[in-house]
């Protein structure tokens, strides 16, 4: 029986991804570093403000790690949570670990902290990019119930590489936000198939927005992150020029598509209805043989 990443808490994910008993938490709940803004609203605070951070080893290599806790306000980022993430990335520049591993699970800006949340998210994004400029490898993983949206959906794509599970969801504006703004005709947030075809792990993998797709097991995520630590993605002018070409082609080739299934058809899946049925291995084999053609 696999230990599901999707079902696990932030702490369980860290325990399962790092080497046994190697995790040392920074600002643990006992320190009681909580959000001042939630207190002002008489809302319950979390003693870790919804993110667990610390150091440890993965396959013997030293890493810094953070995991957002979806069960606390959907992983939304406030002032303290953002500062913990920024501090961890700053510490990485000092310590030069083999990687910083970010286990994302977030709806984005914590609206109860409005301006402070938005600024925090942009500071996290900048800290990820600064760490990468300083030669630090920053790896992300997405596979929790709340997905990764809002500013954290942008921040996640600032990492060197991302690992996702099929159940993981990645985007900017969540389906409910779009439905509220534009109506159910624009995006029916209760149509689970539609949501999955738009922001789900397989779709993101086929577009090239995540580099590894894994089964929903903490051990699968660990193995994928270990593999990603073996090489470093370049972060220089050539890399962004290359990405620019890829994103330009994406609009040219797929910009008229109305649905994920149309995109998959354009990418060579003659019968896209089969795609959701395939298990991760079968899917990856078929995706790779299509890419080779």
């Amino acid at each position: 029986m696999k230990h599901s990443f999707y079902e696990a808490s932030a702490r369980e994910r860290i325990e399962g991804i790092l080497d046994a008993a190697s995790f040392r938490e920074i600002l643990p709940p006992a320190e009681r570093v909580v959000s001042p803004h939630l207190q002002a609203l008489d809302l319950p605070a979390a003693f870790d403000d919804g993110v667990v951070i610390g150091s440890g080893t993965l396959d013997g290599e030293s890493v810094l790690v953070a995991a957002q806790e979806g069960e606390f306000m959907g992983g939304a980022v406030g002032e303290v949570q953002g500062a913990k993430l920024v501090g961890l990335l700053d510490r990485a520049v000092r310590d030069k670990p083999a990687a910083v591993i970010l286990l994302f699970e977030s709806g984005g800006v914590r609206l109860q902290e409005a301006n402070a949340g938005l600024i925090a998210v942009s500071e996290v994004m900048r800290a990820i990019l600064s760490a990468r400029s300083a030669g630090i490898s920053v790896l992300g993983a997405i596979g929790g119930q709340y997905g990764c949206f809002g500013g954290m959906g942008i921040a996640a794509r600032c990492c060197d590489s991302l690992v996702m599970s099929e159940e993981g969801r990645l985007g900017l504006s969540g389906p409910e936000v779009i439905e509220t703004a534009r109506g159910v005709e624009e995006f029916d947030s209760r149509d689970r198939g539609l949501v999955w075809r738009t922001v789900g792990g397989k779709h993101r993998y086929l577009l090239g927005d995540c580099s590894i797709l894994v089964d929903d097991g903490i051990a699968d995520f660990r193995e994928a992150l270990r593999r990603l630590m073996e090489s470093r993605a370049a972060f220089d002018l050539d890399a962004v020029l290359h990405e620019h070409d890829m994103l330009t082609r994406r609009i040219e080739q797929l910009g008229e598509c109305k649905d994920g299934a149309d995109i998959w058809r354009c990418l060579g899946w003659n019968d896209p209805t089969l795609l959701p049925m395939l298990d991760t291995n079968e899917f990856l084999q078929q995706a790779q043989s299509r890419a080779a053609r």
């Binding site: 600002l27 570093v33 001042p36 803004h37 002002a40 951070i53 002032e79 303290v80 500062a83 913990k84 920024v86 501090g87 961890l88 700053d90 000092r94 609206l111 109860q112 409005a114 301006n115 402070a116 949340g117 938005l118 600024i119 942009s122 500071e123 994004m125 900048r126 990019l129 600064s130 400029s133 809002g150 500013g151 959906g153 942008i154 921040a155 996640a156 794509r157 985007g171 900017l172 504006s173 936000v177 779009i178 534009r182 624009e186 738009t198 993101r204 577009l207 927005d209 972060f235 220089d236 002018l237 962004v240 990405e243 620019h244 994103l247 330009t248 994406r250 609009i251 910009g255 995109i263």
Partner: protein
Amino acid sequence: MDWQTVTDALFPQGHDVTQAGDFVCGTGRCGEQAFAVIGTTNHAEVGVELALAMARAVLDVITQYPGRPVLFLIDTKGQRLRHRDELLGINSYMAHLGKCVEIARQRGHRVLGLIYDQALSGGFIPNAMMADLCAAMPEAEIRVMGLPAMARITRIAEERLRALSEVSPVFAPGAINFVRMGAVDALWDGTLPTHLLEMLHRADAVDRRSERGFERGGRALAQPVARRVAESA
């Protein structure tokens, strides 16, 4: 405020900034200094195409005018809220723009931002909020969302949010609150070329927003918490 008024005032030595749709781009001269101007207008909704156009403009400055400072001129009502943008991975386009800004910084470009009209949520995160320093016009409207929408989503009474926003910069929309919290360097209410050159002179690659927010009393915890973590054993 329209972008022509802003560019005319910013660049007494002339500019060739033009508008194409919601996208604004060109070169402005302020004294001896040339600036690459990249921006948005019409309260633009930033979708995949506009994010990509801004990224292209940043890459062109890096490759054609090494070292030239970049000035983002921002007027946006936020990211475009369409199914199509999500389908195409708009977050990747926004991240790409942020990466282009970081690479410009890596290669010695100073990157500045000026919010001259509106700035909402995802529309100014990958440009103005990635800049070395960002200023705003005094009448600029900067916010995550309006108080009525915030009240609805958070289920906190609007009157309560309104009362709190009287005493705290956290909830209230408005450029001055982003100054107090350190995300906006200053409001430009004097001679624009003087402000621009002065900010360019001070800009560097270090993100000091939490430090400013602490000094100005708008964010008490961001800087001390980040420092405790960064300096932890």
